[in-house]
Each structure stands twice: as structure tokens, then as C-alpha cells.
């Protein structure tokens, strides 16, 4: 019983901690761009320095405007 008095509050506060962390992540926009986040691991830091690409790898989507 004494053990419970310590362990249950610990268990609950850990759970609440996780919930709070999730809310913080949601508020700070970490779930705004799930697909992009998955792709950004392929972006090298150095990639962001070359300006204009030589010959675009993808033809941009074509629309009749």
C-alpha cells in the first residue's frame, strides 16, 4: 500500500508528462508537414547553398494557364 502511494503518482505524472510533450509538439507545428519531415532527412546541409539548379530534375507540373 505504501509502495502504491509513491508509484501511482509517479506513473500518472509520467503519463501527464508525455501528454504535455505531445501538446507542446502539436502547438509548435511539428505535425504540420509530416510528408516533408520524412523527406528532409535526404536534404544535405550543403544542398542548400547551390542556387540555381542545372536542368531541373523534374519538369514542373504542366498546366495550361
Amino acid at each position: 500500500m505504501n509502495g502504491l502511494a509513491i508509484l501511482i503518482p509517479i506513473a500518472l505524472s509520467f503519463g501527464l508528462l508525455g501528454l504535455a510533450a505531445f501538446f507542446w509538439a502539436l502547438r509548435s507545428g511539428q505535425f504540420d508537414d509530416m510528408d516533408g519531415a520524412a523527406l528532409r532527412i535526404f536534404v544535405e546541409e550543403g544542398d542548400l547553398e547551390n542556387g540555381r539548379p542545372e536542368g531541373s530534375a523534374h519538369a514542373p507540373a504542366d498546366h495550361l494557364r
Binding site: M1, L19, D33, G36, L39, F42, P53, H58, H63
Partner: protein, 704 residues
């Protein structure tokens, strides 16, 4: 680009662009890395999910500058209005929060319940029940709000929906369990209440996420109805203004290939205009000085200066918008399958619970025990699996359709798609591609030179020619001294000879351009709006599915006839938006559930009025907003696929109903006999939910 040194003190402007062309990590780094170093741009951040890039920049950089900067990186971009978080996005947000809270609570309450079930006695059990109550009651208050609100709305209007039995069940069970806790009773159903909320919220969340995803896709596709125009002041200074800031009396310059942002009268310049979005007419119309021109039309040839006569809500487009609003009201009255089931289900559940209570009272069990059994009946029959049955199946189907190139806007669209039994197609831009395709390319000589000329111009015909030639694998020759003469075309020198690609001298029928080299006879290149690939097979599959198709077009009979003849469809022609509405109303009155497929502004009201509607990805934004689903790419095949998948989905939904109700058939007698302990309730609830979700997952390959 106007260079602008950004002083840190100066407030930055933020502009959002939709870039549908981004496809991989390379595009992200290319966009962000390519834009950030440019003068005047502070930062660029790509959101890949919604295919948008947000640019923070010095206020003096105007829309066209930014657009050309993105174009310089090889992407087409359209400005998007930055309205912060749209309302439905924030609905998803609050559902995620509610689900997270319910998930946390159900885990912790379950932890405490397990110890009670495994034989915790006396003071320990009471303590655990009390702890459960402390967790569950705030959770019910917070996470239950979506259900309470919708139930209250339904009851206030004398209707009933799924949420009424859910709300009553959850509240009654929570109240009773609290009573049990305070009187040291053996059974508290807190775990059942919060788990029910959790499962149901997951269903709601799936529904909402599905809508968001489709909307993101549509936003990424949004064509602009020219969100602005370059205006000239009296002093000759040009300034870019957004559409809503345009006012009658201003003068705007419309370059070739741009859409008009307002109605007006041509002051200078001559050109031809593509009216197909407004009227469905595919033949371009000449515009000379003094002619009235309308917002939403596409300027094809040369630059025009237009004096604005009407902007914003006063344009011809706005009339169509008003028609659309009236037409869309029937759609909003559509009752979704879950609510239709609830109409039968809710009264049955309520009656059973009341009967259980009355029966046990009569047999002398005492009101406390009788209420407990009634609550057990409510919670075991609460449509937990039903609440998951529909959204789970629909989101899996929507994912499968998305991979097949169809964006479904919401669950009700899927349900209505499955019911469709008659199809109406617009012609221009729907059965046809809605863009010019060059004819008889094989007869053409000097293709590499033509490509070099076409590549250097942004005229719609040049672009169509460039695409067609590049598809053939032609490599451009070196052509010197390339200049574009607005209103005429491209000129240059090739091997010392003058070459040109431009407006034909002779009055050629329809769309055409002429290629001249030296002083030889000009070669005429004709264009026509080609029929989409796979139209025939798609119509065939629709017929197999029992949908008879026909054409409703705003174009003239003469230009619809060849298409209709080729596809063997009956056609009604020269229809105004109102006529299309009437045609749908007549069919609906005859009991048909009409699938309307169209793309233009002129189809907007019909798209809103149809039982269900689809628009191609090349449609105007009005068309895409009004449609229930948008299909990508050139092929018409996804239309038939969507119907097929929708019907499969509804089959799975019905199976899920049967599973969920079958569960209840077994569980209700137990509950009525008072044999359902919290443990049994929890196992039954999670078991049926898992089976229903598993069954829904079978739809993953439905669109293959």
C-alpha cells in the same frame, strides 16, 4: 528582381505559393536553397504536405517578382491567400487534442481497472476507483465535447443522430460509476466510458483528416482566377494589386497567358481570349479596343490594357457563384449513412435500456441495480464499432484513391459516389484536355528550329508546341537573336536566315501558328483541343457499372458534334449554367442520382447541384471547390475507378455494420441478464473495434 537590402527593423511580408510540381527531397532543397540567397528574401520554408512554400521577404518585392524567382528555379507557382489556419484544419487540431487526452486517460484508467479485475479488494479498490474517477471525469468533460455539442444540436432541432445515444450513455455511465465509487460499490465503468470516447474520437479524427488531406491537395492545385493584376497609375507607374483591391476605373495590363482579374473594357491592344472557363466555348474570341472582357477569361496572344468596369463581387463570375450557392443546398441536406443507421439504431438502444431498467425494477432488483444494468446495456450497445466502421473504411479507400489519382473531399462524397447511376459530362476541358494540342506534327520539317523558337515564348500555343516536341525527343538547335514581338510571335536568325514563329497572316480557322524560314512559304501548324486519353474505356466501364453517360456543354453544336460522334454519346449544347442546372433537376426528379463531371466556372452550379460531382485537376478553382472529388492527370479513367472504389467501400461499410451489430446481438442478452461486468464490456468494445478496422484495411488495394 528589385534588389532590396533588408534592414532587420523593417517588418517582413509573408507570401504563400502553391507549387504543385514538388515531388521529392531534391525539390525541397532546390526551392529553399534557391530562394533564400536571393536579394530581398529573408527565408523560404517548404510545406511538402500541402505543396506550398512560404516566403518571408521585403515588402517591396511584388508577387510577379517572387513568381518569376520560383519560375527561375524550374517550378510553376501560384500565389495562395494566406488565411492562417482554416477553420476545418483547426477542427482536426482540437480533435487530435481530445483524442490524445482520451487516449492518455483510457490507458491509465485501464491500468487501474486491471488491478481491480484481478481482485483488488476493499480500500485498495475504492482508492483505484477514486483515482479512475479523478482521471475520467475531466476527460469526459474535455474529450466528450464534440459529441455533446452535436447531440445537443440534434436534440434541439428534434432530430437524433449517433451522438445522442453516445452522449447519454457516456454521461449516465460516468454518473453511475461515480455513485458506485462514493458508495464503495464493486463495479465502476470509467474505463468503458473513456475507452468508448477514445475509439469514437479516433473515428471522428479519421474523418476529419481525410477532409484535410483532400483539401490540402486541392489547395496545392488551385489555379488562380488571376489573384491580381498589374495596374497602371495616371503617372504611368505600374503596381501589382490583389484582386480584392482592384476597383472600377483602374487600368490593368494583362500579359499573354494571364487570366483577367476583373471585368472591363479593352483600352489598347488586340488579342484573342479563351472563354472556355466561363462559357464552355472552346473557340477563342477576338478582343479589340472597346470590347467588353470578363474576369476568368484567359488572354492568349498579346498584351491588353483594360479599364476595369467591375471587380470582385460585381463580376460575371459572381453571378455564377450565387447560382452555385443556391444549387449546393440540396447537397448539404444529404444524410450520411452513419446517421441513417442511427435513426433506427438510437431509438432501439434507448428502448432496450429503458426496458432493461423497467424489467429489473419489476423483478424487484432495486433502482440502483436496475440503473446499473441499463447503463451496461447502453455502453455495450453504444455504437463504438459503428462509429469506427464508416470512417475507417472511408479513409482507407480515400488513401487508395489518392494513389490512383483521385482526391475525395470527404466521406459523404464517397457515399454519394457509390449511389450515382447517371453521368453527365461537360465537353471542353473535361472530355477534352482543355488545352491546345498541335496536329500533324509528323508533316512538320525543321522541328529543332521550331522548338528553339517555341521554347523562348510563354504564349500558350508555343508552350503546347514545346511540350509536344519535347515529348518526341527533339533537341533544339541554336537560334540567334531571339526576340518576342507581343501580338505577333517569336523572331530569330538561324544559319543567317530569318526565322519566325507567330500569328499566321491568312485567317486560319481555329487555333494555328505559322513557321517561316527565309522567304519560303510559311508552314501552318494547326492546334485542336484533343480528347483525353482513355475516355472510351472509362465510359465503357461506367456503362458496366450501370451509369448512362451524356454530354452537357456550353459550346456550340458544331464543335460538340465531332466529340459526341466519336464517343457515341448524346449531347445537349449551347447550355448556360442555368440550363445545366435544369437538366440535372429534371433527371433528379426522374429518380436519377447524377454524377456531374465538369471543369469550368460555367459548370460550377451544375457541380454543386449534382448528387455527386468530379472535376479534373486542370479545372478552374471554382470547379474544384464545387466538386466532391478532383482527379489528376490527363486520363479520364479515374472517374470510373472512383465509382468502383466507392461501391466497394460501401460494401465494406455494410459488412462492418453487420459485424458491429452481430457483436451487439451476442452482447445485449448478456447485458440484459446483468452479466456484463466492466471487464466484459471492455473486451467486447475493443474486440469489435479491432475487427472493424481490420476489415476496413482490406480496401487498401481497392483502386488497383
Amino acid at each position: 528582381m528589385t534588389a532590396a537590402a533588408t534592414a532587420p527593423a523593417e517588418p517582413l511580408a509573408r507570401t504563400l505559393f502553391a507549387v504543385p510540381g514538388m515531388r521529392c527531397a531534391g525539390c525541397i532543397s532546390k526551392l529553399e536553397g534557391g530562394l533564400a540567397p536571393l536579394p530581398g528574401i529573408a527565408s523560404a520554408r517548404v510545406n511538402f504536405t500541402s505543396k506550398q512554400v512560404a516566403i518571408e521577404h521585403a515588402p517591396e518585392l511584388q508577387l510577379p517578382d517572387l513568381q518569376s524567382a520560383i519560375a527561375g528555379l524550374g517550378f510553376e507557382a501560384q500565389p495562395v491567400r494566406d488565411g492562417g489556419l482554416p477553420a476545418d484544419k483547426s477542427e482536426s487540431r482540437s480533435l487530435v487534442r481530445a483524442t490524445a487526452v482520451a487516449g492518455f486517460a483510457s490507458m491509465n484508467v485501464m491500468l487501474l481497472s486491471v488491478s481491480v479485475w484481478s481482485g483488488a479488494e476493499g480500500a485498495t479498490r475504492d482508492l483505484f476507483h477514486l483515482l479512475s474517477a479523478l482521471i475520467a471525469i475531466p476527460t469526459v468533460a474535455y474529450s466528450g465535447r464534440p459529441f455533446f455539442r452535436s447531440a445537443w444540436n440534434a436534440v434541439r432541432h428534434g432530430r437524433t443522430n449517433m451522438d445522442v445515444p453516445i452522449s447519454i450513455g457516456v454521461l449516465l455511465v460516468t454518473a453511475l460509476s461515480l455513485f458506485e465509487t462514493l458508495t464503495s460499490g464493486p463495479h465502476a465503468y470509467f474505463d468503458g466510458a473513456v475507452m468508448l470516447l477514445f475509439f469514437l474520437l479516433v473515428g471522428r479524427l479519421l474523418d476529419s483528416v481525410m477532409r484535410d488531406r483532400a483539401r490540402d491537395g486541392v489547395t496545392a492545385l488551385l489555379k488562380q482566377r488571376a489573384v491580381g493584376a498589374l495596374t497602371i497609375g495616371a503617372d504611368g507607374k505600374t503596381e501589382w494589386r490583389a484582386a480584392e483591391d482592384l476597383a472600377p476605373g483602374m487600368r490593368m495590363i494583362v500579359a499573354a497567358g494571364e487570366r483577367l482579374a476583373a471585368d472591363g473594357i479593352v483600352e489598347s491592344g488586340t488579342s484573342s481570349l479563351d472563354l472556355s472557363l466561363l462559357t464552355g466555348e472552346s473557340a477563342p474570341r477576338r478582343a479589340d479596343v472597346g470590347d467588353a472582357v470578363h474576369a476568368g477569361t484567359l488572354n492568349l496572344d498579346g498584351p491588353l490594357t483594360v479599364r476595369i468596369t467591375a471587380a470582385g463581387a460585381d463580376t460575371a463570375i459572381a453571378d455564377i457563384a450565387r447560382l452555385m450557392e443556391q444549387a449546393g443546398q440540396a447537397k448539404s441536406r444529404y444524410v450520411r449513412i452513419a446517421d441513417r443507421a442511427a435513426r433506427l439504431y438510437a431509438p432501439a438502444v434507448h428502448t432496450l435500456a429503458i426496458l432493461a431498467f423497467v424489467g429489473w425494477m419489476l423483478s424487484g432488483a432495486g433502482w440502483h441495480h436496475s440503473l446499473l444494468i441499463a447503463a451496461a446495456v447502453l455502453i455495450i450497445t453504444c455504437p463504438c464499432a459503428l462509429g469506427l466502421a464508416v470512417p475507417a473504411a472511408q479513409i482507407v479507400a480515400a488513401g487508395a484513391l489518392m494513389r490512383a489519382g483521385v482526391l475525395i473531399k470527404d466521406g459523404s462524397a464517397l457515399e454519394r459516389l457509390a449511389e450515382a447511376n447517371r453521368a453527365l459530362f461537360d465537353k471542353t476541358g473535361t472530355l477534352t484536355l482543355g488545352r491546345p494540342v498541335p496536329l500533324d506534327l509528323d508533316r512538320l520539317a525543321m522541328k529543332p528550329v521550331i522548338l528553339a523558337l517555341a521554347r523562348a515564348s510563354s504564349h500558350p500555343l508555343s508552350r503546347a508546341l514545346r511540350k509536344a516536341l519535347e515529348r518526341e525527343g527533339i533537341v533544339a538547335e541554336q537560334v540567334e537573336a531571339l526576340v518576342e514581338k507581343p501580338g505577333f510571335g517569336m523572331r530569330g536568325r538561324y544559319l543567317g536566315l530569318p526565322v519566325s514563329l507567330g500569328r499566321p497572316n491568312a485567317a486560319a480557322p481555329g487555333l494555328a501558328t505559322a513557321f517561316t524560314i527565309g522567304d519560303l512559304q510559311p508552314a501552318l501548324i494547326r492546334f485542336e483541343d484533343g480528347i483525353r486519353p482513355d475516355v472510351r474505356p472509362a465510359l465503357g466501364r461506367l456503362a458496366e457499372l450501370g451509369l448512362e453517360s451524356s454530354i452537357v456543354s456550353g459550346d456550340t453544336a458544331a464543335s460538340v458534334a465531332p466529340v459526341a460522334g466519336q464517343l457515341g454519346l448524346t449531347a445537349q449544347t449551347s447550355m448556360r449554367p442555368q440550363d445545366k442546372l435544369d437538366a440535372i433537376a429534371r433527371l433528379s426528379a426522374g429518380g436519377a442520382k447524377v454524377l456531374m463531371v465538369g471543369d469550368g466556372l460555367n459548370d460550377g452550379p451544375a457541380l454543386a447541384a449534382g448528387h455527386v460531382s468530379m472535376a479534373p485537376g486542370s479545372a478552374s478553382d471554382v470547379g474544384q471547390m464545387a466538386a466532391d472529388a478532383v482527379f489528376m492527370g490527363d486520363s479520364l479513367a479515374p472517374v470510373a475507378t472512383a465509382i468502383l472504389v466507392a461501391r466497394r467501400t460501401m460494401r465494406v461499410v455494410r459488412q462492418n455494420f453487420v459485424i458491429a451489430i452481430g457483436y451487439n446481438m451476442i452482447a445485449i442478452p448478456l447485458a440484459l441478464m446483468g452479466l456484463v461486468t466492466p471487464l466484459v464490456a471492455a473486451v467486447a468494445m475493443s474486440g469489435s473495434s479491432i475487427i472493424v478496422v481490420g476489415n476496413a484495411l482490406r480496401l487498401r488495394g481497392a483502386a488497383k
